[in-house]
Symmetry: C2
Subunit: 402 residues, 2 copies
């Protein structure tokens, strides 16, 4: 029995007309697949609307209350979609996260999927129904509702596909696949037919926003066939697979850009063991995720340590760093919010030399100053001034792709 | 330990400002009571909005899908209210119908409360928290969400008050109590300080809309102290109690008006046993509630049977009656949608004669034609032309009350 999981994001179900379009697409899918599971997000804008309501009432609303509030959005979409499908004569049933057997654990508003108990889903599939699961949510062992954080509906879809051993998991969104760069920045960017999990993982974490990194990670773990495609067009989308061709792969498959970065520098830090550890320990305690780290060469026993963080957490990070070093180990803390991270990603880098030098040369030709560098086996990222970020994307796309 | 249940209707929580006002009221309540349970409705208009969305997608949406959709409204309000209370320093937790232990049975969109499992509520109260339960909803034995029908949040409040043996149950709404008549129709109508369960039951079923009849019935069964009051003013409201003074009570305590009636008549029905039974049996099968029934004196073996139904079900009732009597037992079915029911209610009627004759005389003086009559031990209802309904209310209020 063939099984497909289809996930429709917020823009794909933004209003009743689009919900009806999605119902039409699912009806067509049912002609080609024995069993269909659908995962939906909240209608575009609803989740933000709920968050704003909560924040108007309290500067710091409790996570468990936010979770009950936020989980409503996906429940509403899933029942409306089930109603729309039934009115077309397609038997369908919506299931809340709890009913779909999605058991979670961890912190409210960013819980983890602990396990999936698929009994009810199997029952409904056996009964010939399309199962529509509310994304982004589950219940913990105490029957408390929890949400999975931003992009959590992707995770619901991938987790269900993994647990039920789906043959294919399709992620429908408002773009028609994964591009070599953001087409709004680089018009000659083209859609990739295939991309490896590893590359997608880098692109997802680097801010390409097409797919949530945790979902890619989970798909890789279960070697799931994952497709990203548009619900508005009929294109093939991009297939995310274990491998995309190995040694023959191009050096660089994509250029991504994350403008939501801030750079913080502890100037004049004593260069002795334990200083960096205490700094990063305190940041970790506050759940502030440090992205890039660069430590300068020591000069007379003093050094500078620069880090980048998501701009949303920059203010708190600055405060933490000032407090940690109030003892006098750091001269001062400086902060720069006008920076961006630009990255090139490609599985082919593993086997091709010279990508780093070509990257730096291409940026130098455009007089773009590189403030920080970090590399992985399949990516090179640089921090540049935010105002030069789009020029950097275009320069690197021209150098490696088109 | 004193325990109060407070229920806030949709207009009382219609926006964030009103939710904050409600939070203020609850904070004050907490000064006078050891334990506080709050039940909330959806923000005014939300339930209708969801119903309209569903009906735009399907002429006949499935009840179970509607229930998942509709239950969202109360969940949203309850979490927002918990957030607002916490931000004032009042410990509070919202519970969904399922978390609050409300177990239901019966038909979707109009389920019954089967039982309350108050373990979680007790836990949270023991922990010093205000418990905010989402009204109008529960889960059945299969973990399916169900809603309790219109006014279901009243029922949630009364059921919780009964199950937890509350000392008082306050129903906050947009009117400041139960009136002798609708003040928009009769400006001299006055608020009642007290009213008996029986009278309230009649008024509720007769369309006074202040309180759902099932809730009054349940309150009476558990002899609960019930108060109806306004969340916008500081008035005392109306206390609904087992008795209001017996023999000294006024003959008539209130005049109510229900304009949502339709009258259907089966003309020329064969007057032999079983005809009426087959008619009403078929209507009951379709869940159409018949309100008043009048059968004319037989003439040459033929009779007319007139009934009234809620106008929302008039079209279906007409169809059912036409089908039932297609065999030729009824000459034809006529339908009149321009009728209204006007009623006088008073526990004093039990011990005072002449209320019926005074009712008919008062209406006759205003040249208001009476189309149907029905009586109970403590009420007299008449069907009149809808255009004369308000005149009838004023005439009867003048006759009996002011």
């Amino acid at each position: 029995m063939s099984l497909i999981v289809q996930k429709f994001g917020g823009t794909s179900v933004a209003d009743l007309e689009r919900i009806q379009n999605v119902a039409g697409r699912i009806a067509a899918t049912r002609g080609n697949w024995d069993r269909v599971i659908v995962v939906v997000s909240a209608m575009a804008g609803e989740t933000d609307r709920y968050i704003n309501l909560a924040h108007e009432l309290s500067p710091d609303p409790a996570g468990r209350e936010l979770d009950i509030l936020l989980a409503s959005g996906e429940r509403i979409t899933s029942s409306l979609l089930a109603i729309s499908l039934s009115s077309r004569g397609v038997p369908a049933i919506s299931l809340t996260g709890g009913q779909a057997g999605i058991r979670t654990e961890g912190t409210h508003t960013r819980a983890r999927v602990r396990t999936i108990q698929p009994k009810r889903i199997h029952q409904e599939l056996d009964g010939g129904k399309v199962v529509i699961a509310a994304g982004f949510q589950g219940v913990d062992q105490f029957n408390e509702e929890q949400t999975l954080g931003r992009g959590g509906s992707d995770l619901t879809a991938v987790a269900l596909a993994a647990a039920l051993e789906a043959d294919l998991c399709e992620i429908y969104t408002d773009v028609d696949g994964v591009y070599t760069a953001d087409p709004r920045i680089e018009p000659s960017a083209r859609r990739l037919e295939r991309i490896s999990y590893d590359e997608m993982m880098e692109l997802a974490s680097l801010g390409a926003k097409v797919l949530q990194p945790r979902s890619v990670d989970l798909a890789a773990k279960y070697r799931l066939q994952l497709v990203v495609r548009s619900s508005f067009t009929e294109g093939e989308g991009t297939l995310i697979t274990p491998d995309t061709g190995g040694i023959e792969a191009p050096a660089v498959n994509g250029v991504s850009c994350d403008k939501k970065q801030s750079k913080l520098t502890a100037v004049g830090v004593a260069d002795r063991p334990g200083i960096a550890a205490s700094l990063f320990g305190t940041l970790a305690e506050k759940s502030i995720i440090v992205d890039m780290i660069v430590q300068n060469v020591s000069d007379h026993g003093l050094t500078d340590i620069s880090i980048t963080v998501n701009r949303d957490t920059a203010e708190e990070a600055e405060r933490v760093m000032c407090e940690t070093h109030a003892g006098g180990d750091a001269g001062k803390i400086t902060r720069d919010d006008a920076v961006a991270k630009v990255s090139v990603v490609g599985i082919g880098m593993k086997s091709q030399a010279g990508v780093a030098s070509r990257t730096f040369a291409a940026l130098a030709r455009e007089r773009i100053n590189i403030m920080m560098i970090s590399t992985s086996e399949i990516s090179i990222s640089v921090i540049v001034q935010e105002a030069q970020a789009e020029d950097a994307v275009r320069a690197l796309h021209r150098e490696f792709i088109a």
